[in-house]
Amino acid sequence: MNEKNEPILRAENISISFGGLKALDNVSLTINPGEIFAIIGPNGAGKTTMLNVLNGFYKQDEGSIFFEGKKRPKNLKPNVIAAQGIARTFQNLALFTGMSALGNIMVGRTMKMHSNIFSQALYWGFSRKEEIEHRKAVERIIDFLQIENIRRTPASMLPYGLRKRVELARALAAEPKLLLLDEPMAGMNLEEKEDIARFVLDANEELGYTIALIEHDMGVVMDICDRIVVLDFGKKIAEGTPDEIKANPEVVKAYLGTAES
């Protein structure tokens, strides 16, 4: 992808423990602008923990994170980090089930809304204009993800694959500088996986999003990612392009040498 000198995000020597368990041990990684970056590894390798550290949901015990070249204060709240431009989706869906797909996606825009609750309630003046602006942005994403037909359907009525897509839409609606996807294809059939893979590629190529994703399905990751980091038991065991990773004996051992898939 387009090489810029400045990485969008750099994590240096991250370590975090839960009780006695060291979930991440001295892991460093860099994510460059415009790339699709993947973190892979067997179950319990610390992939989701890493993602949670990156978006500030967990605080690392050691190490530091640099976002757009600036060191991030350790105690920064996740909502502030989100406002800085990091959006994410969750492995186990986190949609508002009673809300329509449209409503859920609009939630992704809240960070960007400035009018106060009272003028919003009156739908008057600036807030009216603002609402229309945001709705336009959301409609572009609905068009992009081809979910026009479920716009008004409550999230609880949607099948799993479409809920995943709505969640992706909500993350895209925040127009993040960095988009974190936690197992976007988990539990999907082949067709749904191919759809999502297509959307991830398009979001990267057409809309120019920088994407970091965690994924179990090696095949998909190898096909769509530019660079990969492999974790095993909290440690980084490899980093490189898909071809380099495939050829790396450590990775083969981690995946095939254990009972894990």
Binding site: R135, E139, I142, E148, N149, R152, D202, E205, E206
Partner: protein, 641 residues
């Protein structure tokens, strides 16, 4: 009449002058909002595109293929191509490679206009094989930015080229338009063809204009109408309706957001005029019935009761008899409680007139809509006649006939019982196929290939394809489609194929309607895994037998057809599919093909010793891959009356 403009581009220029900018010519739902284009916008878009084509070297009589869902850009492209004296060749958007190859090659297209990446991909494959195709133009750029080819251009880029070209050649557009004569070819409509390769029906501007105006006058339609454009652009029905009639009247054509949102979009627009094949009417009815079955029992009972009332009332209305006061009051209550909300939900509350065409419609389906108060009428026509032969008149409706001849059309029945006609829509000939043209015309009369007769009221009644009508061994007339259509009135039967030519009795293949039967089975806690599995469940066989008994009962009432009642049936293991070649894209059964492919199944139907048969089935995917599966199909008997 004579001073009216007769070609598409001339009418368009006229409309842009005649109608104010506030009058919408087209609407498209995009980003969740209906975007409107006035007739002036329509003209500007067409002009820019046409000039862009000209700058790419498009000449008079060049052909342009058009493929995709109904988007304003594709209609503009069609008009743009015609403005330069070109000929548009609309294609079915779900056509597979082989069909597309044949048509694009046969029609000698130099240009192609595709809706999106999917269609562009198909055309790009073709381009390698057909060097004559020089340029591919696409509307929706999504997913195409990495396709860097000189011959692949975006619709908007072509328009930009057109604007530049127009500055240098300000008179080019009008000069081109003024060269078009009413008798120039405007489109080639390829018929899906139940046998052999598709044939290119050559149609002129005059035919489209005459037939469109004929339709409009018949129902007093004007520029205030609203229509939905969602049927394939390659179907002559859509061309007449969304292009010809829209131009001639100035009414508004609405393009839905996507194929999945048609129902909702239709509700928002509230069309006043609908033109759809029976398949669509059947689908809507099936959807309604599923929802009714799922509703609370009191609603269900109420619906059934008031539908009966409505049916009685409609029968009286059709017969032009006085409706009894009691029924009249009950009907009003039913309308308030059920029909009104239902019709509104279907987006049909503003409907003035709706047509069904292309195939026979089941009397029950037809009467259902009429009972609801929807002014559904039947129309008979074909690509070769611009869909213009006969249609029903308000106040002279009956479910079995297709109405009197349309204005300007003469109909006669040949000695063999085939319907022949002459009219303004009669086509010029098949493109590069004079033999087929000669076979179709007989002393200036067009042979429809349909068997039928004129009723006492002077209405045309179509029975079946002339070549399909045959005899059973005992000499009884056997009209397979007539029987199949009767079967298809059941919401649980999607398709049927009747056999009986030179046999002792009639036997049928039945294709269940997966959605409806699956819903029925779920409510009865019948577990199943797939279409094949569901179709072979004994309760499903019983369910279908009920439907067949009904058909036998109605056949027994007609002395000519009494002996063609159905005696044996089997449920098919898969849905009949155009990709597998069993039916055409417009869902007409290819009898010969089915008889050859499933000869062993037919043998089993006529072998009294057999009550089941093993079957190996091959499926074809859209990309041409195939897969095989095994099934055991049961054969069952059914009683006759």
């Amino acid at each position: 009449m004579t001073d009216l403009p007769m070609t598409g581009p001339h009418i368009l220029i006229d409309n842009a002058k005649k109608f104010p900018p506030t009058k919408a010519a087209m609407r498209e739902k995009d980003y969740g909002i209906w975007q409107s284009y006035s007739w002036q916008d329509y003209l500007d878009q067409v002009k820019d595109f046409a000039l862009g084509l000209a700058s790419l070297g498009f000449k008079r009589e060049d052909k342009m293929a058009i493929i995709g869902d109904n988007r304003p850009q594709l209609y503009w492209g069609l008009a743009g191509c015609q403005s330069l004296g070109g000929v548009a060749v609309p294609l079915y958007q779900d056509a597979i490679h082989k069909e597309l190859h044949y048509i694009v090659n046969h029609s000698e297209c130099r240009f192609a206009l595709a809706e999106d990446q999917e269609q562009t991909d198909k055309l790009m494959h073709l381009k390698d094989e057909i060097p004559r195709m020089e340029y591919i133009i696409y509307d929706d750029p999504r997913g195409l930015q990495n396709y860097k080819k000189d011959w692949l251009i975006a619709f908007t880029d072509v328009q930009e080229m057109g604007r530049r070209f127009g500055k240098e050649n300000p008179d080019y557009f009008m000069d081109s338009v003024n060269q078009i004569k009413p008798d120039d070819m405007s489109i080639i409509g390829y018929t899906s063809g139940t046998t052999g390769n598709p044939k290119g029906v050559m149609i002129t501007h005059r035919m489209i204009a005459d037939c469109s105006r004929g339709f409009l006058e018949w129902d007093n339609l004007d520029e205030t109408e609203e229509v939905m454009a969602y049927l394939p652009m390659a179907w002559i029905g859509d061309h007449i309706f969304s292009y010809g009639q829209a131009l001639c009247s100035g009414f508004t054509v609405n393009c839905p957001e996507s194929t999945e949102t048609v129902v909702n979009d239709q509700k928002e627009i509230g069309p006043t005029h609908i033109f759809a094949p029976p398949r669509i009417w059947e689908n809507i009815l099936t959807q309604i019935m599923i929802k009714i079955e799922d509703s609370a029992w009191i609603k269900r009972k109420g619906f059934d009761y008031f539908m009966k009332v409505a049916n009685r009332v409609e029968k009286k209305r059709i017969a032009n008899e006085q409706v009894p006061v009691g029924d009249s009051i009950l009907y009003q209550i039913g309308r308030f409680l059920y029909f009104g909300p239902l019709v509104d939900n279907l987006g049909m509350s503003r409907l003035k007139v709706a047509y069904t065409a292309g195939e026979a419609i089941g009397p029950e389906i037809f009467e259902f809509y009429r009972s609801l108060g929807v002014n559904l009428k039947q129309l008979y026509g074909m690509t070769e006649s611009c869909a213009y032969v006969s249609m029903q008149k308000d106040g002279e409706i009956d479910s079995e006939s297709v109405g009197p001849p349309a204005p300007g059309v003469e109909i006669k029945i040949s000695d063999k019982g085939e319907v022949l006609y002459k009219g303004p829509g009669n086509f010029v000939g098949y493109f590069k196929n004079p033999e087929a043209t000669a076979e179709t015309y007989e002393d200036g009369w067009l042979c429809s290939g349909d068997a039928g007769y004129m009723t006492e009221q002077g209405h045309l009644k179509i029975i079946d394809r002339a070549k399909d009508v045959s005899k059973l061994n005992d000499g009884t007339m056997f009209a397979p489609k007539y029987i199949e259509n009767k079967l298809k009135f059941s919401p649980y039967i999607k398709e049927a194929v009747a056999h009986g030519m030179d046999k002792d009795f009639v036997a049928v293949f039945i294709d269940i309607d997966y959605g409806a039967v699956a819903n029925w089975a779920e409510r009865r806690h019948i577990a199943f895994t797939s279409y094949t599995d569901l179709a072979q469940k004994p309760p499903v066989y019983d369910l279908i037998r009920e439907a067949i008994l009904k058909v036998n009962k109605s056949l027994s009432e007609d002395p000519r057809l009494k002996n063609s009642q159905i005696k044996r049936y089997l449920l098919f293991h898969k849905e009949l599919n155009p990709d597998d070649g069993e039916i055409t894209r417009t869902r007409k059964v290819r009898r010969k093909f089915v008889a050859e492919k499933y000869g062993n199944l037919i043998d089993a139907l006529y072998d009294p010793a057999k009550d089941s048969i093993d079957m190996e089935a091959t499926f074809t995917y859209e990309d041409g891959r195939t897969t095989t599966m095994k099934a055991n199909l049961k054969v069952r008997d059914v009683n006759t009356f």
